[in-house]
Symmetry: C2
Subunit: 331 residues, 2 copies
């Protein structure tokens, strides 16, 4: 039978529908024998309780909305994959939302998630105003961006990352150190990388040089911008706020005959498995993707199961410098 319902199981097992429901929900008095009869009937019919009908009863839907700008970016891809895995282990399903950094799409998604009665949202893309997120009235945890005082943020220690990267470049001999930002949104956690860079540069009594290379820029244009900078300025160190930009830097440097790390040292940011596997030459600041996923899920479920649970406003996880050839000191 295709898509049998509770009453079919009852018939098959020779018990009342109520008993079946009780067995499923382990509710009230039940003999082992009855339980077995029911379980076997369920198996025979390949019965799956209709979770739609269940959640209509005010039960949870076990659905979690996960909003990120794009899973085709390896960093988000890996993060989303980890999140999905952990949610799955805990019996939750992931509704994927690629907002593509599109405000309208994000708004529609948000409403859609509400309509679908998701139990909570993990939000990693924020183009909407705070208000829209506040009136959602659902447990939300934010990744790496400030939404509102009631919505906890999970991020890695972007400031420390900025400091680490700058120090590393300095220690391996760089003196004219650039920062390539992939966006410029002051006060966002990501911006702390920049602040870390600036503070360190100051402490080292060097001059700060920032360039914004917006992440939305087509990569060919990025390449041109970078080539332009590399060929006109005398640079010996670059700290990129993401690994992909760093890859472009490495490529352009090579094409221009600038040797890495002899003439130029480069550090990226994110440290995905992907980069570590396929670009082991790149020094990078690795975010603890697995731990962040873990924490995002844990905090969200805490809110889901207990609305009142007190969470901190900001959870900061440590980053790690992965030193590779692109930042080696050349003796």
């Amino acid at each position: 039978m295709l898509r049998p319902k509770l009453i079919d199981v009852a018939r098959e097992a020779g018990v009342s529908p109520t008993t079946v429901s009780r067995v499923i929900n382990n509710h009230g008095y039940l003999s082992e024998e009855t339980k077995n009869k029911v379980f076997q009937a369920m198996k025979r019919l390949n019965y799956q309780p209709n979770s739609i009908a269940r959640s209509l009863h005010g039960k949870k839907t076990q659905l979690i909305g996960v909003i990120f700008s794009s899973v085709s970016n390896p960093f988000f891809g890996e993060l989303v994959e980890k999140i999905e895995n952990k949610l799955f282990k805990l019996g939750y399903k992931t509704i994927l939302c690629n907002s593509a950094d599109n405000k309208e799409k994000e708004r529609v998604y948000l409403n859609m998630l509400i309509a679908n009665q998701v139990d909570g949202i993990i939000a990693g893309a924020h183009n909407l105003g705070i208000k829209e997120y506040e009136k959602v009235g659902l447990p939300i945890i934010s990744f790496d961006r400030y939404l509102s005082s009631t919505i906890p943020i999970v991020s890695s220690d972007n400031y420390a990352g900025g400091v680490l990267a700058t120090q590393e470049l300095y220690q391996s001999g760089a003196r004219k150190i650039y920062f390539f930002a992939s966006s410029h949104t002051p006060n966002s956690p990501t911006d702390k990388r920049r602040v870390g860079y600036l503070d360190t540069i100051k402490k080292l009594q060097l001059e700060a040089h920032e360039k914004v290379i917006a992440s939305a820029t087509p990569s060919s244009v990025k390449a041109l911008m970078i080539r332009q900078i590399l060929s006109t300025e005398q640079i010996d160190g670059i700290f990129c706020s993401d690994d992909l930009t760093a890859l472009i830097v490495l490529r352009q440097a090579k094409e221009l005959g600038i040797r890495v790390p002899q003439d130029l040292k480069v550090i990226g940011y994110d440290g995905t498995q992907f980069i570590q596997k396929y670009h082991p030459e790149l020094t990078t600041i690795a975010q603890p993707i697995n731990d962040m996923a873990e924490l995002l899920v844990e905090l969200l479920l805490k809110r889901v199961t207990d609305e009142q649970s007190e969470l901190k406003e900001h959870y900061v996880l440590p980053v790690k410098l992965i030193r590779n050839q692109s930042s080696l000191q050349f003796i």
Copy 2:
């Protein structure tokens, strides 16, 4: 009010719940005035119809299950992203399932999707037997793998890809041409790449050389295996059945001082945007990711809206050779 229901809107608008329902579904006779009253009330209350309750009424859930082994692989990441986008445009939501090539996980996912009353499934990972998919009783479209005669397959022209790649290597001068397979599952559409390679090699009266470098292998081990082969055999052409393996080949060749393309020509497979952007030196066979996503969604929705619709068993989309430096003829 948080999560108002239809009846609240009715009260707010001063009409009956029925009228609200009719306005929402544009059903029956309605005056402009009433419509406006209702719409405004909806807006005031920030009302979202509870799609759970709607779908209980035998309506569609507008949910589609998307099963792939892993979105952290850029190829699947990009494909899933495209799929999700197209589904979204058509009013469907994507439930993401990363099966991690785990049979048990896939089975649980399948049941979960049934329980959630998804309207259909796009399956790109198949470790389960045909039976399990057949008894799902839902519209399913498969990506790149054979499931059962009733489940249509969408894939790119893997055979042509195998032929193209081998020809390209030959034409640019390679004579000892290896095929690095990322899996060995005979009869799968992906295996056609191998068949294309073998047929072409035969036609060219060359000797075939195959190595299986399982995609589950840790990349460091892959690197070792490849290094081993490169350093012991006299090879001048390698056709990898995915781009990532090709990247490892390029790296190992470089480390061994084997020049590409002078001494060795390399071709990958997949041709993601990612590879094109960040590894423009790699020649590759590009699968039409966007078209495949489009077709997967289109066929699935055809089945969803009309169960009887006749679909072909296999849809094959053309591939394209993207010629780059790694396979250039060196004069």
